[in-house]
């Protein structure tokens, strides 16, 4: 098999592969930087919880209108925000810590979502919602995903300074400005938006994968924030492309293939990453002069 057949032909020959390609690259562009900030703010698991929380909302949309893009998107957005804000509010109003509140919310959401979808749909519909359909993106879905990532990049560009400041030293930001709380809300909104975008392609269970795995990978290669963001975006996009090709050539489902490629990149980075990778720690090297 020559390189053309291996790398180009699948996309050149099939419309659905080209659509999937545009979809995963758009997702990577949005989810890459958002994922890095999530990781650095120690919200990786919160992202997971929020992704699951989208399910019952999308399911209500599904009950109301079947596999309708807008109904499921709006439902997912509403449910995602509700859980993000609800968990935060419970953490602030009671003695419960935010991680426990999030865990409670997402377990309830997941059970409720599966129940709701099963009320009307088949197991195929359930699989569709849980794992997405990256190979069946229609024009409207593609437009939605691309709009979400464009919006994310613009919002990140405008709010980068307060976002970083709020991540490094929230106390300082609070003491000089009232921008902290709104910044945090806008960031949560970005997370939910990107998860809903990812949800259509990868499903509620895997959507967060393209956000967290590339970010965690980038951590092992870059020391500074800019480098991390660039690497995270590149890893996310590359995982998408390679995952699609693997899925095409090996005949395996594309969503899991994409996430597994990202997972492979992560595993490799844990081993050989120059910033705190395992191998570097195991190889005994002489300590420096100063």
């Amino acid at each position: 098999m020559n390189p053309y057949d291996l790398l180009i032909a699948p996309f050149a020959e099939f419309d659905f592969m080209r659509r999937a390609l545009v979809g995963v690259i758009a997702l990577g562009l949005g989810a890459g930087p958002v994922g890095v900030l999530m990781m650095l703010r120690r919200m990786s698991l919160a992202g997971d919880a929020m992704a699951h929380a989208i399910l019952p909302g999308a399911a209500v949309g599904f009950l109301a209108a079947g596999l309708n893009l807008w109904a499921m998107t709006v439902g997912g957005l509403v449910a995602g925000f509700a859980v993000a804000l609800g968990a935060g509010a419970i953490a602030r109003a009671t003695q419960m810590k935010e991680d426990a509140a999030l865990a409670a919310f997402y377990l309830i959401s997941l059970a409720l979502g599966v129940l709701l979808v099963s009320l009307r749909g088949s197991n195929v519909d359930l699989l569709h919602v849980l794992f997405g359909t990256v190979l069946a993106l229609d024009d409207a879905t593609l437009l939605l995903i691309v709009s979400i990532s464009s919006l994310s990049l613009m919002v990140l560009a405008v709010l980068w300074r307060p976002l970083v400041l709020e991540s490094v030293d929230p106390g300082f930001l609070r003491s000089v400005s009232a921008a902290g709380a709104p910044t945090h809300l806008v960031f949560l909104a970005l997370v939910v938006l990107n998860l809903v975008g990812g949800f259509h392609a990868l499903g509620t269970l895997l959507a967060v994968g393209l956000m967290m795995l590339p970010a965690a990978t980038a951590r092992f290669w870059a020391r500074d924030l800019t480098g991390m963001v660039v690497l995270s975006v590149l890893t996310a996009c590359a995982s998408g492309v390679v995952g699609l090709l693997v899925s095409y050539h090996a005949g395996v489902p594309s969503g899991p293939a994409i996430i597994l490629v990202a997972g492979g990149a992560y595993a490799l980075s844990v081993l050989i990453g120059p910033v705190g990778g395992l191998l570097l720690r195991l190889v005994p090297r002489r300590h420096l002069e100063a």
């Binding site: 650095l40 405008v158 709010l159 300074r161 307060p162 970083v164 400041l165 991540s167 490094v168 030293d169 929230p170 106390g171 300082f172 609070r174 003491s175 000089v176 400005s177 009232a178 921008a179 870059a222 020391r223 500074d224 924030l225 991390m228």
Partner: protein, 252 residues
Amino acid sequence: MNLLTFRDLTLGYDRHPAVHHLGGAVADGDLLAVCGPNGAGKSTLLKAIAGVLSPLSGAILGALPRRDIAYLPQAAELDRSFPIDVYDLVAMGLWRRTGLFGGVSRADRTRIADAIAAVGLAGFEARPIGTLSGGQMQRALFARLLLQDARLILLDEPFTAVDAGTSADLLALIQRWHSEGRTVVAVLHDMDLVRHHFPRTLLLAREEVAWCDTREALTPENLSRARRMCEAWDERAEACAAPKFHGTGVAA
């Protein structure tokens, strides 16, 4: 001229007072030490002045806008594992000039470099903050305070876990702020340091024990009274009945 006036100020958490019916005033340009045993409400008072904590009752009059206050908390919520370097950390101090979106001009860059040099961290600009020692971190935070160019500077135990050389350097910065006419309020435990460098002292034990010239405030009697007063914390305390007015630490 008073910069801040506390009127029957009660601060606390969960309705338990940590500072109880405090009255008094901080004069403009004051160099004030706040002393007292653990749990005396010193940090709580600083938080309230900084505007991060609202009073349970009473009020702080003449509160400055947030941008005129520079506040260094005791345990900064700073995430030291965040991949940011010393330069960017110090540059945060320019918030008042740049705000959310403003650019950093060439003059600003000079200011940042000057602040880093002033705290003795020249050459450390590109170091990630995670690699700094405790003392170097405190120097970087002081550089950020320098850039904040604030009228009122609040320091909560700035010399804890810092070696003698670093404290001396940072103390020199505090004196520079004082000579520039800025108001400095610092929570401190080292009584010798307070006696030598801080003209005025508020000795706090939830209530005011003394608020006057340092020499008169830090007498052995006052200090032991402060220790005794701090030991009463009642989980099932009754609601405080009538507001008491006492405390006359009004500066001239």
